[in-house]
Symmetry: C2
Subunit: 135 residues, 2 copies
């Protein structure tokens, strides 16, 4: 069974690039710099659906993405979560949080309506993240 | 600098046991079977504050805890998150979610007031989880 990005994730995000395991996407919400990492394993729902090697690779990729977000944004905290109550395909959120952002200190899920990016702001952020992540 | 569990985490939880890296605690909230894994590394705030070996170990422990929670509770989904906006000490939530729980499909953080366990219910759950996790 081939991996296909869940249509809801496709709709809500823009392409950033592929790491060895995960497809990386930017959530279209200018409230928070917010990435999603989706392991390209068809049918995976929980982290224990990945084998041990894939789990280790996912952790390496999450650490890289978290550090890249932090370095790029100078944020106060990275929030990382695999929730999946609405979209079952295994995907991990990485959100750059600031003490002065609109939802702090609450988690971002369901906190605010998404605020779509302008094209320029989005393209600049994606380019900067690609440089750090895919180098 | 020695590791000391953050006093807020201490207050909100009960001891389950220590894995090679993480201290495991049960959140005192009978709304959801809810574990917290706290890597015993003083000063760690983000996952990239752990070195590569510790990151890999943390992932192994999270997968074990997630599967143990799922096996014990028969839940529909495991939610896993490192947020840390309120308590900076690195800690990872693992929450067993059911489609009929009181917060579904919302994330649990801030969704409901905690509902403290009765002693028997708590002790039974801790004993069952210890058997799976520390065996």
């Amino acid at each position: 069974m081939a991996f296909v990005l869940h249509p809801q994730l496709e709709r809500d995000t823009f392409a950033v690039g592929d790491l060895p395991l995960s497809r990386v996407r930017l959530m279209d919400d200018a409230n928070f710099p917010w990435l999603i990492a989706v392991p390209r394993r068809a049918g995976a729902v929980e982290i224990f659906d990945l084998d041990a090697r894939e789990q280790a690779q996912l952790m390496r990729e999450l650490a890289l993405l978290a550090r890249s977000l932090k370095d790029r944004t100078g944020c106060d905290k990275i929030n990382i979560a695999a929730i999946g109550n609405m979209v079952p395909q295994l995907h991990v959120h990485l959100v750059a949080r600031r003490r002065d952002d609109a939802a702090w200190p609450r988690p971002v899920w369901g906190a605010l309506p998404a605020r779509p990016y302008g094209d320029n702001e989005r393209d600049r952020l994606i380019a900067a993240l690609r440089q750090r992540i895919l180098a």
